[in-house]
């Protein structure tokens, strides 16, 4: 039953598996040793580079900076490369004169130029790193070349490029980002994040794609419109929030209407809350109503707070509770009107506690009868 072929193969197979296991072990040992060796040599250099960069960021004036600059300028080769890495890494964490001092040093040493050149050649990882560095430095001249990377074959390169464009925030790159979304080249989350800071400087481009056939593009458009409070889009948003075929576009549109906060949106948001089949849309609409500070919006919220659906009722009551000043008095009124409604009672209690009441339980409206 065990044929000859198998018998002949058996020892080889056994040797093969054991040999491969041995090879894995050798790889493990070699990699660990190499890492240790490298860290031992590199770590002190990184520490030194980090300290110098921090020093340069911490000085108060250019005169004081001169000494540290001289020290940094004397660095060559690997020591300098480590400083460059450190500089780009810490840059996005800070602002102001300190960061400018750091970037002027990098400019003088030709670092920005070489990073720009690296965008266009070499490995995907190298290009992505360059885009990341230039984005961290908010280097305006890099906007167009980085936008070119949105067509790169590697998704990581595209993702980094989108983010860098958001950091640089050059409106002329908005079109390229939207086109990349339409091609499926970049995820919509990073795209929205990149376009938001460009705000109303790109309103023309954004308005023109609100009715794009692709839900991804519409999502990006409505989110950016909301974040930048572009009122010219209201009419289209009102239509989308009720009629868009895509549940998530409707949800994002509701949130955008809240951001804009216009009182004409109330009736559309009410329609969403009551009629939309998706709970996520209804909840987003309630959240949006909370951001529209008119009496009409408040009345509607009060009605929703008394809803039989606990998800809607609790969400509406909580939204009311979060409205500064008015929230507490409104909820107190609702407590009297609907003393047995638990959602309202819960939101009211939360509101009372947040207002810093010393003895909340003495409040006559505290407990449900």
């Amino acid at each position: 039953m065990l044929d000859r072929v198998t018998q002949a193969v058996l020892p080889w197979a056994l040797a093969g598996v054991l040999g491969a296991s041995l090879a894995l072990l050798v790889i493990l040992v070699v990699v660990q040793l190499a890492r240790r060796l490298r860290a031992g040599r590199r770590d002190p250099l990184v520490e030194r580079g980090h300290a110098l960069v921090i020093e340069l960021l911490a000085v108060d004036s250019d005169e004081e900076a001169a000494g540290i600059r001289a020290e940094l300028e004397a660095l060559r080769g690997r020591n300098w490369e480590i400083v460059v890495d450190e500089a780009f890494r810490v840059m996005p964490k800070f602002e102001g004169a300190a960061v400018e001092r750091l970037s002027s040093l990098l400019v003088e040493r030709g670092v920005m130029e070489s990073q720009l050149a690296r965008l266009g050649r070499g490995s995907a990882l190298g290009r992505a790193r360059a885009a990341q560095n230039l984005g961290n430095a908010r280097w305006a001249a890099a906007a167009q070349p980085i936008a070119g990377l949105l067509a790169h074959g590697d998704p990581d390169v595209r993702a980094v490029a989108v983010r860098a464009l958001g950091q640089i925030s050059d409106p002329s790159t908005a079109g390229a980002v939207i086109r990349a979304v339409a091609r499926g080249g970049v995820h919509i989350g990073p795209a929205i994040e990149a376009l938001e800071p460009m705000g109303d400087r790109i309103s023309g481009e954004i308005l023109s794609v609100l009715r794009d056939p692709l839900p991804e593009v519409r999502s990006v458009a409505v989110a950016v419109v909301g974040e930048s409070r572009i009122r010219a889009a209201l009419g289209t948003l009102h239509d989308l929030v009720v009629n868009d075929e895509d549940r998530d576009v409707r949800r994002l549109t509701a949130l955008a209407l809240g951001r804009i906060g216009d009182d004409t949106s109330v009736r559309y948001l009410v329609a969403s809350t009551t009629a939309d089949p998706a709970l996520s849309v209804a909840l987003a609409a309630i959240e949006a109503l909370g951001q529209i500070t008119t009496d009409e919006a408040m009345e509607v919220l009060c009605l929703f707070a008394m809803s039989d659906d606990p998800a809607v009722g609790m969400a509406a009551a909580n939204v009311i509770a979060d409205i500064p000043l008015v929230g507490l008095t409104t909820l107190r009124g609702l407590r009297v009107k609907a003393p047995r409604n638990v959602s309202i009672a819960a939101a009211y209690q939360r509101c009372v506690l947040a207002s810093g009441a010393d003895d909340p339980e003495s409040d006559p409206q505290w407990r449900v009868a």
């Binding site: 065990l2 056994l14 598996v17 493990l28 929205i192 407990r367 449900v368």
Partner: protein
């Protein structure tokens, strides 16, 4: 004449013919089965490696800082079912509240603890009793009896008290009280890495329209240095039992799941570390609290619901973020856990048997579920048959020694190679274990696993299956919490 030798001889003859028949019928299927099984593990591991390599490169390129300031990450409600956790509850809740994440709400559900869990929470966080803040309407077996929030109204913490009804029912109660867009289930005795939430929501950030769930890795916390709900130093346990489980978890819950996610067919997000969209979980009706493998069941059901209604969706997995969880340190607890897991697996597969090989459910129905039937459900049966038939056949002279060698090669030596590959990839790639001592411990665990551990787990899993088939009613409450943090994960790939 003494009848005994004759009877023995005829018994041996009879046994020989039975074993011979088994060998003839099963020898090649068994070899093929293990060959395919181990190859599929290897394929998943390599697939997982390639995709977490990407994740890592990307995390390295993107960093976490911009996510914190982007304002685009959705809030998360962490639902923490707690049963008799008075010892570490305060520190673990504080650690959860301090996770590196912009918007976290912690919903602690006291599942009828008989110790002072609730009192300690009330004192330490100066809680005050309020009306129930229910957002959801999942039907639960018991009704919550009281809700508490901090007296200063700061929000972010909600404690719900209820009579004991088991972990999944407690989680459902928690989900009903959660208010953020995302919900995650976290056990009070496990430790989430500080930036784990930020990393695990990456699939939601990438694809906010379609992503409904995302999971992260689970690793054993046994022997790690833990302080105030944080892992300060990662260590491999010197005891064999937790050590072998560490290897198992790396193979199945770190790399294996990443592989499934890469193939867009992830069926299990571990209940110990999974993040879901709250509205999706609510409309699905929450966890099935009558099912033991509740986490596997939830993801399977979400797949089913979305595929049936034709709604586009995605389920993600990120291997880097890790939840450190206590694994059973003793044989008896481990046995109970594995019996439970396998029983849960059977219940889920049986409940959703219509999905199996049904093209309507795409890759889930055509690949993932059949794979679970074939290589998770049935694996212990064939392993036990092999374990009995091969030595017996060898002793009775029906099985040639070459076949025994082939069996050992395909089932164990190959399996050893696969586990070793997982360990090597994990050490080089994820770098959780850095000390030489821990890495040596992992390697020896890979060898030790084949002598006793695999055989024992195979038997336990068969027992679990048997219990499920006999339809013994599940034991709730105290019993359902046994097996520590890992009890929430169903088995795969061991």
């Amino acid at each position: 004449m003494d009848p005994c030798p004759l009877a023995t001889a005829s018994f041996v003859d009879g046994l020989r013919s039975v074993v011979e028949a088994l060998v003839v019928a099963l020898s090649w299927p068994i070899i093929t089965y293990f060959l395919v099984l181990n190859t599929s593990f290897l394929a998943l591991i390599v697939l997982g490696w390639s995709s977490s390599y990407r994740d890592r490169r990307r995390a390295h390129l993107e960093g976490a800082e911009h996510l914190l300031s982007s304002g685009r990450v959705a809030g998360i409600s962490l639902v923490v079912p707690s049963y008799n956790e008075e010892v570490g509850i305060v520190e673990s809740i504080q650690a959860l509240l301090a996770l590196t994440y912009p918007e976290v709400e912690v919903v602690v559900v006291n599942d009828g603890s008989s110790d002072r869990t609730l009192q300690i929470l009330i004192e330490r966080f100066s809680l005050i009793r309020v009306e129930p803040q229910t957002h959801g309407a999942i039907t639960t077996r018991v009704e919550p009896t009281a809700t508490y929030i901090p007296r200063d109204g700061r929000g972010g913490l909600l404690v719900v008290d209820k009579p004991n009804s088991g972990r999944s029912d407690a989680i459902n109660v928690g989900i009903n009280h959660a208010s953020k867009d995302l919900v995650a289930f976290v056990d009070a005795d496990s430790v989430l890495e500080a930036n784990a939430l930020l990393a695990v929501v990456q699939p939601f950030l990438d694809d906010p329209l379609r992503c409904i769930g995302s999971g992260g890795s689970i690793r054993p916390i046994n022997h790690c240095v833990v302080d105030r709900g944080r892992v300060l130093e990662v260590r491999m346990s010197p005891k064999y039992l937790p050590r072998i489980q560490a290897v198992e978890y790396i193979r199945a819950y770190v790399l294996g799941r990443q592989g499934w996610a890469r193939a867009h067919a992830l069926l299990l997000i571990s209940g110990a570390f999974g993040v879901f969209r709250r509205d999706v979980v609510l409309s699905a009706g929450g966890l099935d609290s009558y099912c033991i493998g509740e986490d596997l069941e939830l993801v399977t059901r979400l797949h089913a619901l979305h595929r049936r209604s034709g709604t586009p969706y995605s389920v993600g997995f990120v291997a880097e973020p890790t939840n450190w969880t206590e694994v059973p340190p003793t044989i008896s607890v481990l046995a109970r856990q594995r019996r439970r897991w396998h029983r849960g697996l059977w219940e889920v597969l049986w409940k959703h048997r219509r999905m199996c090989l049904n093209p309507r459910y795409g890759r889930i129905g055509m690949v993932a579920i059949p794979y679970y039937w074939l290589f998770e459900m049935i694996a212990p049966l064939l392993e036990v048959i092999g374990m009995i038939v091969v030595p017996l056949g060898l002793a009775l002279g029906v099985v040639p020694w070459q076949y025994a060698v082939l069996f050992i090669l395909v089932a164990y030596t190959y399996g050893f190679f696969v586990s070793l590959a997982a360990i090597v990839i994990d050490t080089i790639h994820f770098r959780r274990y850095r000390r030489g001592k821990d890495i040596r411990r992992a390697v020896t665990a890979v060898i030790a696993e084949n002598f006793g551990y695999r055989q024992m787990t195979a038997v336990w899993r068969l027992q679990g299956w048997w219990a499920a088939l006999r339809g013994k009613t599940a034991v709730w409450g105290v019993m359902s919490r046994q097996g520590f943090g890992g009890s929430s994960t169903s088995d795969e790939g061991s």
